[in-house]
Structures are given as C-alpha cells and as structure tokens.
Amino acid sequence: MNMLGLIFADEHDADVNELTAKRTFAAVPFGARYRIIDFFISNMTNSGIRNIGVVATTKYESLMGHVRYGGEWDLHRRKSGLSVLPPFSFSGGEVRYENVLEALQANIYYIKQATEPYVLFTCCNAIGNIDYADMLDYHIKSGARFTCLCTKNPRNKKDGVPTTEYKLDADNRITDIIIREEVTPDAYLGVNAYIMGREDLLELLEDSVEHELVSLRKDILVPMLKDSKVMAYVTDETLLFIDTISSYLESNLDLLDADIRKELFGQELRPIITRAGNSSPAFYGEDSDAANSMIAAGSTIEGTVRNSIIFRGVHIKKGAVVENCVINQDCTIGEGAVLNYAVLDKNVVIHDKRLLSGYITHPFYVKKGSVI
C-alpha cells in the first residue's frame, strides 16, 4: 500500500462535550468494547496502510494509553507503524491548532518524511467498515487531485451541528461544497476523509502557511473545485455518526441490528481490532434476564437488560432493569435500580433502587466516576 494514513483525533463538526470532557474524541468508547479510533486504525490496516499518524492536540492520555505502539494492529514495526503526534511535535511555542488545516500544517514535517505517494487523512466523525484501498483505486482511476469520502445514508446525523454537503455532477465530480446545520435528505454528506497525492498536499500546505489560509474546506477545497478534479467517493457502507449525545446513543444501539452488526464486524478479512483487555467471560447469574443487547466480556449480569450496550466489567445487580442504555466500562448498577435511555460514562456507580430516565432524543448522561 502506497498511502500514509493520518487520523485527526479531536472533534470536528460534532458536539459531544460530555463525552470529550476528559478525553479526545477518538478515544470515546463505543460498541461495548471499542474506542472510536479502533474503527479508523482497523480500516486503515485492513486496507493495507502500514504507516499511520494519529494527530491529537489535547486530552490525549486515554488515546495514547489505548493505542500505545499499535501492537494490536501489528503496527509496532521497526519501519513506519503507528505514531501518535501530540501538539508541538515538530516545533514549539505557536498556538495549538483548532482545525484540520492547522493540524496538517503543524505536521508538515511528518508528511514530508513519509515515502508513500498518497495520503489519506480523516476525522473520526462517522464509524463504518470502509475499504480505503478501494477509495485509493477510485482516486487513481478517476484522475482526481482530491477525493472526498461521502455518503447518502448518514445514520444518526443530527441537525444543529455543521454538515458538509457536496453537490456532484454526473461523474461524481464535486461542483460545490455547502456547510449547513440541517441535514438535507438525499444529499451527499462528507465525513472529513480525504485522499491526495503527498507531494501535491505538501505544496498546498506550504502555500497555505505562506498565505495564512485557515480552513481546508473554505480556503483550499472550494477554490480548487473550478480548475481541479475534486471527486466524491460515495460509500455504500453504513456510516454511524456520532455528533451529539443522542446520536452517540442511537449509533451504539444500531449495533443491535443484525445487518449493521454484520456490516461493521462481520466483513471477511476486515475485522475491527481493539486493545485487548484481559477480561474473564461475562457471567450471567441465575436470575439474569438479558435480551436484544450487546454484552462485553468481564461483565456480571444478574438483573434485566434490554436493548442496551454493556461494556466490559459492568456489574448489573439483581432486580436492576437497564433498558435502551449505553453502560460504559466498570459501572455498577445497584439492586432494583431502573435505567431507561441513560448513557453512563466509565466507572459510574448507581446505588440500589435509583431511577434514571431520559429519552432517545435526550439521553440521561452520567459523567465518568459519578456516584448516584
């Protein structure tokens, strides 16, 4: 594979401040045992990418602790492999970067020292099982200068957060880029994932520094549309958006759908890998009553669980009822507690007989380490 992969770990076009209070966006837990970044690294390695940089600007402890040297993805190599790129990796003193263009500019040196002729760079807005090798094929065959990943079926994309909408001609060449806060039905929505020639990108970046350009979309992509071939790669894969706390809940609960589960986790030779814990198998007690739920190893289920995503090490005690919830790692739900549409961050303790209820549009969020 002749492509360098760059992942921007921070949130772009998303509003999930609750989940990212203590961690960068890419480190947000998802799907009973993963973190969001697992899908991006796995997609890259499954596509043959062997050189991956993860750009993180703040709150990256849990991210670094999770990916480490990328051993789980066989990226702990002598040559290339995985590098986490914190701010000021190549210089010091400037203001830290806020958007994709600034993140690229700050890591020009990293892109320069790579040898791959192409660069894939992506934010973590939407989760899917994407074949980037196919996207690169498309980029090369279509003779594009710039290729943008997009979808017509964005699941759980919410109004109120910026949305990138592409207008396409008959050949899927992008003719216009519109940013709006509402989701237009049937529109092609971008997910901030792009492929470009490395040399070309470097020239663009150096030029953007000299001209103090600040936005990839506004200052580079839009002006390029007229004279250069900017192509849309429209994926058929399901893309689960995580841009608000309610879309976080919905995208998690989407994993209870057999087809989505199969698309995401059941694709041959395209497994989603995560950092191995060392959990024992999940234990279901004599009185447990769990159905239509995804339940990770290391958990103890003694109560009732319906339509929920249960992470590792969770203990649901006798008589507790958990419905339509995402319960993150190592939470304890006390006896007789009732939870409906709740999102519990890690290490939350719910005492016996507590009642917590939100709604699908307004989940009851409980922050990391809380005791209720």
């Binding site: 799907g31 024992s280 279901y284 004599e286 159905a291 190893a297």
Partner: protein, 371 residues
C-alpha cells in the same frame, strides 16, 4: 520449567490434534494459561515450556509470550522442543529427562532455584510463597501437596511427612496409601541438587526418567532434605473428560470455587479478536459464562460458552462446555455435553441428556450432528 509435552490421551477426542495444555478451558482460556499466569503473577519472568506432543497449536498460542508479558529481551518465555545434537537426539523420555536435556537453557540463566510445573492443571497458586518456604526450610526440594480424600489417594503420588513437614516417604500411586498428602506435580528444586540427581538418574538405564517415579525416590534415598508444602486452594488435574467438565463448571455460580474475574490473580490468555456477544430477542442465559463474538437467541443454562458461537432461537443448552466456532441450530437440544470446536448441531437434533441419568457426551471437533 513448564512440562507441556504430554499427550493427555484420557482427554481424547479433545487432544486428538492439540497438546493437552492447549485445550480450551473456561470459555476464553487454554489449560496452560493457568500455570503460565501463576508464574508471572508469582514474579517468575523466565519460563521454559517443554513441548513434544502435537506442538503446532500450542506453539502458535504461546507465540512470543506477549499475552503473559513474557516477551522479554532477557528471560521471558522459551519454547523448548526435543532436538538433535552432535551425538544424536532423542524425544523427551520422561519428565525428568525433558529437564535434563535442557540443562543448558537453565545454565544460561544460572538460577538458584527452579520451579518445575505441569502445564495441564487448573489452579491459582503463588509459587513465591512456596519458594520462600523452601528457602526457610533449607530444603533441597519442596513438593506442593494437597490433602485428598483417602479413597482418591491411590490416584496420586502420596507423601508421608514428619512433624516438621519433611518428607519421609514417597509412593507413586500406592494401592494402600499411608497418608492423604497428594503431590500436585509442582516442585521447587535447588538447582545444584536437581542437576546432581538428574545426572544420576540418567546413568540408570532402567529408569523411566520421571520425577515422581524416579528422581524424588532417588533424592529421598540419597538423604536429601525434601519438604512438603501444603496448598489449600483450588487445584484440579483435568486429566479426564469428566474432571475437565467439572472444572469448567467450577467457574460458574455467584461465588464460584474457581473465580476467573479475580483482579488480584488474573489469568492471562491470548486474544482472538471478536466483537462483543449479542443476545437476541429470545435469548435467556442463566448461570453461564459467555465469551465474545457469540450470537445467542436460544436458552442456555449452567454452561460455559467460548467465542464465535451461534445458538439459534428455540435451541436449548444445559450443563454444557461449548468451545469456539460452534453453531447450534433452531430447536436443537444439547445437554450434559462437551462440544469441541467447529461443530454444527443441526436443527432439531438432540445431543446428550439429563446429567443425572446419562453419561457425559463429547462431540469431537469438526463434527456435524444431524437430526
């Protein structure tokens, strides 16, 4: 030094293609994980694993030793197979001969003490406490023992001790046991004494080169100081299908006798990457252990489930150990059985029966059971 070369023929068909230490256990583990995790949890960072019978899967599983943090530049995990040398080569003739043939490996690290273990027992034990007792007693060899019921004593190596715990007599599988202290196959040796007696044992052409049968009696006869270390925790020799089944069941219950989720004594294993288990609309699980990657829509109780298992709607599973990659189709019933890997139980098929009334059923790897 972890002895992992045994065939485990009484566990057939589970051991037809894999060495006994590599047989899956408890949903996520292999039998050898227990001894290996005991080693690292006891602070032992250099482990030789002696392999001989069907080593392919075992070797793959051990790899560089990374699941146990034994992928070290100095020390770590070493797989030690039989080998050819200038004067010819030989299979490991017995447990003692296996260690004898790897004296060079031991000498490279020049340890004062050696722990000799068996890779096919299920238990959680801190060898460091035993070693400390060995040192405090000034012993040449310390043998871990447990108190077994008298009627079972003749299945084991039985120790008689004086009031200080010093072993006065050792009998391998005696018809009329004089004591109930049974050897667990866990030995601590002072290296110089071990080497001396291994050498002596090698010189005897009639010896079976076995620790229990030959080396320990030889040391006793030589007047060496052998001590018994009384272990009171959980220990099972999963040498037979029924003991293998029971030990799996020991991981179940609200307060299991073999607690796997013990943060103070983790059992480490090599991961296969599976997504979390999905329980369908009709699923019901009671008193079960269930690993990852399963799609369960049937009824399961009192069972241990591995990974990548499908149990369809209406299927009933009770009192079973089910290994990886098994499909149990609609309406099938499986009771009191061990289901090895890659088995399909077709719709409506019936396997096994009530555990009070039938024998344990074992379905070998790769089998399809038709209705």
């Amino acid at each position: 030094m972890l002895l992992a070369g045994g065939q485990g023929s009484r566990l057939a068909p589970l051991t037809e293609n894999v060495a006994k230490p590599a047989v899956p256990f408890g949903g996520r583990y292999r039998i050898i994980d227990f001894s290996l995790s005991n080693c690292v949890n006891s602070g032992i960072d250099t482990v030789g694993v002696l392999t001989q019978y069907q080593p392919l899967e075992l070797n793959d599983y051990l790899g560089t030793g990374d699941p146990w943090d034994l992928d070290l530049n100095y020390g770590g995990l070493h797989v030690l197979p039989p080998y050819q040398a200038a004067k010819g080569g030989d299979w490991f003739k017995g447990t003692a001969n296996a260690i004898y043939q790897n004296k060079k490996f031991i000498s490279n690290y020049d340890p004062d003490y050696i722990v000799v273990l068996s890779g096919d027992h299920i238990y959680k034990m801190n060898y460091d406490i035993m070693l400390q007792e060995h040192i405090d007693n000034g012993a040449d060899c310390t043998i871990a023992v447990m108190d077994v019921p008298l009627e079972e004593a003749s299945r084991f190596g039985i120790m008689s001790t004086d009031e200080t715990g010093r072993i006065t007599e050792f009998a391998e599988k005696p018809a009329h046991p004089k004591s109930t202290l049974a050897s667990m196959g866990v030995y601590v040796f002072s290296t110089d004494k071990l080497f001396k007696y291994l050498e002596e044992d090698e010189q005897n052409p009639d010896s079976e080169n076995d620790f229990g049968k030959n080396v320990i009696p030889l040391m006793l006869a030589g007047g060496e100081k052998l001590h018994a270390y009384l272990y009171k925790g959980y220990w099972r020799d999963v040498g037979t299908l029924s003991s293998y089944w029971s030990a799996n069941m020991d991981t179940l219950g609200d307060d299991p006798v073999l607690w796997l989720n013990d943060d103070g004594w983790r059992i480490y294993y090599r991961h296969d990457f599976q997504y979390p288990t999905y329980l369908g609309e009709h699923a019901s699980l009671h008193n079960c252990n269930c690993a990852a990657g399963n799609e369960i829509d049937g009824q399961v109780c009192d069972s241990v489930l591995g990974s990548n298992i499908t149990i369809e709607e209406g299927a009933v599973v009770k009192d079973c150990v089910i290994m990886n990659n098994v499909v149990i189709e609609k309406g099938a019933s499986v009771e009191y059985a061990i289901i090895d890997r890659d088995v399909r139980i077709c719709a409506g098929a019936k396997v096994g029966g009530d555990k009070e009334q039938t024998e344990l059923t074992v379905i070998a790897a790769g089998t399809t059971v038709e209705k």
